[in-house]
Amino acid sequence: MSLEYENDGALHAKLVEEVLSQYPDKAAKRRKKHLSVAKSGEEAGGEGEVVSECDVKSNIKSIPGVMTIRGCAYAGSKGVVWGPVKDMVHISHGPVGCGQYSWSQRRNYYVGTTGIDTFGTMQFTSDFQEKDIVFGGDKKLEQIIDEIEELFPLNNGMTVQSECPIGLIGDDTEAVSRNKAKELEKTIVPVRCEGFRGVSQSLGHHIANDSIRDWVFEKKQVEFEAGPYDVNVIGDYNIGGDAWASRILLEEIGLRVVGNWSGDATLAEIERAPKAKLNLIHCYRSMNYICRHMEEKYGIPWMEYNFFGPSQIESSLRKIAKHFGPEIEEKTEKVIAKYRPLVDAVIAKYRPRLEGNTVMLYVGGLRPRHVITAYEDLGMVIVGTGYEFAHNDDYQRTSHYVKNGTLIYDDVTGYELEKFIEGVRPNLVGSGIKEKYPVQKMGIPFRQMHSWDYSGPYHGYDGFAIFARDVDLAINNPVWDLFQAPWKKSPSRGQALAAE
């Protein structure tokens, strides 16, 4: 169902030039490396599957004062990797703010009795005061762990998510965690995800992955009977229930999902992971580290997959099935056939309403590439995309998805994004909460692509139907035609452009 099109590379190159001209020289030089226009494989000198090249520098420091959209290592660890593990208490260790702003904001759905046996939508903080900065917070941390144990005795473990001051004042959270873990016979994981480490959320993911390796794996005797079709789903945070809409498919094709990381996860699912036969990785960026470790240490292969939109779901299901052989492959074809009428009906309903609409994306881990085909399945055209915190290997993977002439922006600044959107005037922008309202003020429909704008799931076949509905309701809502007061004589933007 692949859609063929080419984007206006000349316009995009001009827009890049224009935004760069507005920066002071030093900043322009640095930003230039992050902005590009995707070229076709031949022009870029690529071979094989690579249809285009997204040649940007990435995973380097943001420039001060430009309004980067990025977050920090704490956001990557507490917000993304560890936060969703539901039966553990995650202590935001430091001042009150970090935990307060990230409280319940990622929509990592879970089932449990919050405050009793699960703790996902709660904010545990050590609420550092000046005296803690001056005298250190290790004693306080010990006391906090004791108080958690007394008030929340059904917790299955704790993590200590370090905020900026912890690393600066020289606290030894590792020693506290080690001692307390021994005393309480519980898993306690110190995570050195101070916000100043690294250049974005990304290092926080890595540090969190490493803390699983160092503080969870092989720490307990794991009693578990492994089966031949056991898989872990890695890097699905169950936003709006994504992981559930994925799990149902994997189970239908005959696999057993023994662990889901980390949406709706329990500590037990993490501990047991090294016994699985295959790691299925959705968000490569945030969890490839631990997959590589499991491959090296336990010989578990890993495979990337994409459950956004029917084209990718089908090819991912077949790729996964192939790994397990004919029995699973046969079931997989049945599952694909079972959902085909749903897919056809959804596309028949929405494609005519969305065909040819243009989309610009700016998101985090996997979505700037993974969701592209889901839009294309609906006949939509991706004109620009970019990542907050990608590395080079993400852009390499993006080349397979984008078309010639696509505008590529890494660690985009508020200024650039506004100018690009103004210049391109796409029919839809998919990005985050900070971008939502400026874009809508311009009269351009918007969907949040981190939180699914409080909808979802978007993964799997069930999710695709919701995705299609949401894109349609965003673009085709009557409000966009009401922006101009009728007594203002000036022609609408569309008419003005047509007249040019």
Partner: protein
């Protein structure tokens, strides 16, 4: 298969379908290693007891579900209330992403701020270079009239000195020498967002007032609103009242337009706010009125230092608090309160009298910022209600004493308890052991509503899960009507729900109430 193109189910109905329920039940049983149901039930019941409450309230180190944020959020909010002002937060960049998201989620509006994006090397060598480059970039890209600098805790821990850094940046031509760059040190490990607000407003006033000659203009008033998620509705309502009285006033910090820009095709990065010229002139005002004492302690001290009279209020909401504000304004300005306002007041009283039977004796738990809780407790007592639990995570002992005095002045407050420094997990125990009829707070209170069944009325920042409430005033007599209606709606909706069972309770399902 539960999903269909005709009737698309999203998360709320989808996961209630049998396929998903079974899948989740099996996941739990086979893979989660859950605690036995009985143990979970026992623990849940235990958390409702007085015994648990005592342990919970005895906590010394752990904070769970606090009702406060950190200083720089207040500074960023404060800066948003000045003409074409960009907030520049010196320190780690993730913090700024959080402040912007937090404000956007509440106001459903853009929230702009930049960071100096300090990383590990800056932690070692200091963030001077980040300040120098950052100010230049912000100035060039975002065309501000003023850049208001505050700090994250990272910059505070390593001890960066904003004053000298800004001077250095000016020496290096990051911004013109005469460009306004006021600043405030806003350590997250001291106080809360209300103190960050205080610091930033004071920083801006000092920047413009220091060394200037003051020549008092009699009868003129400065108004400082304080950190207020309802600034959009409140500031406009107060201006209407002040205009009716005919007072010469200046709002110092007014984010009502910044956080309520129209949708007409143009994105306004800056809108409204106190004009810089007006900030300068405000030095000459006879008096400065603070609408929220605990948001402006240092600022008011400074206003007194420069020779202004000051008058602090506690979020003037309800009858007597509004009376006092208007009378104060009238006294300073020498202008009489016009008859139209007296009639407005009468209409609020009329509404309260009409509904008094539904309000009298109702018990409330109230939480939020110190001034808001004070105001709400006072209004509740005016309606004959009893503010049983008054909680401010960022409440000080001075606040506690002041509120206790207020509560002690009324028979409706005699059983009230004041909880300074406590959090919403403590509130959960309070609601289980000493239940109330209604809970007044913000969106975070929805977890308390779910757990304890106490109906929640969202009347303070942050409100993420209801839209547009902040566009309507809470202050003044008009605001009083709005608060009154919100409370009554909650009471009637609950009563209707409880009496709606056909043939069982619906004799009480009265058409007229």
């Amino acid at each position: 298969m539960p999903q269909s193109a005709e009737k698309i189910l999203d998360h709320a109905p989808l996961f209630r379908e049998p396929e998903y329920r079974q899948m989740l039940a099996e996941k739990k049983l086979n893979f989660e290693c859950p605690h036995p149901d009985q143990i979970v039930t026992d623990q849940r019941e235990f958390t409702k007891t007085w015994e648990y409450r005592e342990k919970n309230l005895a906590r010394e180190a752990l904070v769970v579900n606090p009702a406060k944020a950190c200083q720089p959020l207040g500074a960023v909010f404060a800066a948003a209330g000045f003409e074409r002002t960009m907030s520049f937060v010196h320190g780690s960049q993730g913090c700024v992403a959080y402040y912007r998201s937090h404000l956007s989620r509440h106001f459903k509006e853009p929230a702009s701020a930049v960071s100096s994006s300090m990383t590990e090397d800056a932690a070692v060598f200091g963030g001077l270079k980040n300040m120098v480059d950052g100010l230049a970039n912000t100035y060039q890209l975002y065309d501000p009239k003023m850049i208001a600098v505050s700090t994250t805790c990272m910059a505070e821990v390593i001890g960066d000195d904003l004053h000298s850094f800004i001077e250095n940046a000016k020496d290096e031509n990051s911004v013109p020498r005469d460009f306004d760059v006021p600043f405030a040190h806003t350590p997250a490990f001291v106080g809360s967002h209300v103190d960050g607000y205080d610091g930033m407003v004071k920083g801006i006033l000092e920047h413009f007032w220091k060394g200037q000659e003051r020549s008092q203009v009699k009868g003129t008033i400065n108004i400082i609103p304080g950190f207020d998620g309802f600034c959009v509705g409140n500031n406009r309502e107060l201006k209407r009242l002040l205009d009716l009285i005919g007072v010469s006033y200046t709002f110092i910090q007014d984010a009502s337009d910044q956080f309520d820009t129209p949708s007409d095709g143009e994105y306004r990065m800056y809108d409204g706010g106190t004009k810089i010229e007006d900030v300068k002139k405000a030095l000459n005002a006879e008096a400065t009125v603070s609408l929220q004492r605990y948001n402006t302690r240092k600022t008011l001290e400074y206003c007194e230092e420069v020779g202004q009279a000051t008058a602090p209020f506690h979020y003037p909401l309800g009858v007597q608090a509004t009376d006092e504000l208007l009378m104060k304004v009238s006294a300073i300005s020498g202008k009489e309160i016009p008859e139209t306002i007296r009639l407005e007041r009468g209409r609020l009283i009329d509404a309260m009298a009409d509904s008094q039977s539904w309000l009298h004796g109702k018990k409330y738990a109230i939480y939020g910022d110190p001034d808001f809780v004070y105001a709400m407790a006072r209004f509740i007592m005016e309606t004959g209600g009893e503010p049983t639990h008054c909680l401010a995570t960022n409440g000080t002992s001075a606040w506690k004493a002041e509120l206790k005095e207020l509560l002690g002045s009324s028979p409706y407050g005699k059983d009230a308890q004041v909880w300074a420094g406590k959090d919403l997990w403590a509130m959960r125990s309070l609601l289980f052991t000493e239940p109330v009829d209604l809970l007044i707070g913000n969106s975070h209170g929805k977890y308390l509503e779910r757990d304890t069944g106490t109906p929640l009325i969202r009347l303070t920042f942050p409100i993420f899960d209801r839209h547009h409430h902040h566009r309507f005033a809470l202050m003044g007599y008009q605001g009083g009507l709005r608060v009154l209606t919100a409370i009554l709606d909650k009471i009637f909706d609950k009563l209707d729900r409880e009496t709606s069972q056909t043939g069982v309770t619906d004799y009480s399902y009265d058409l007229t109430r």
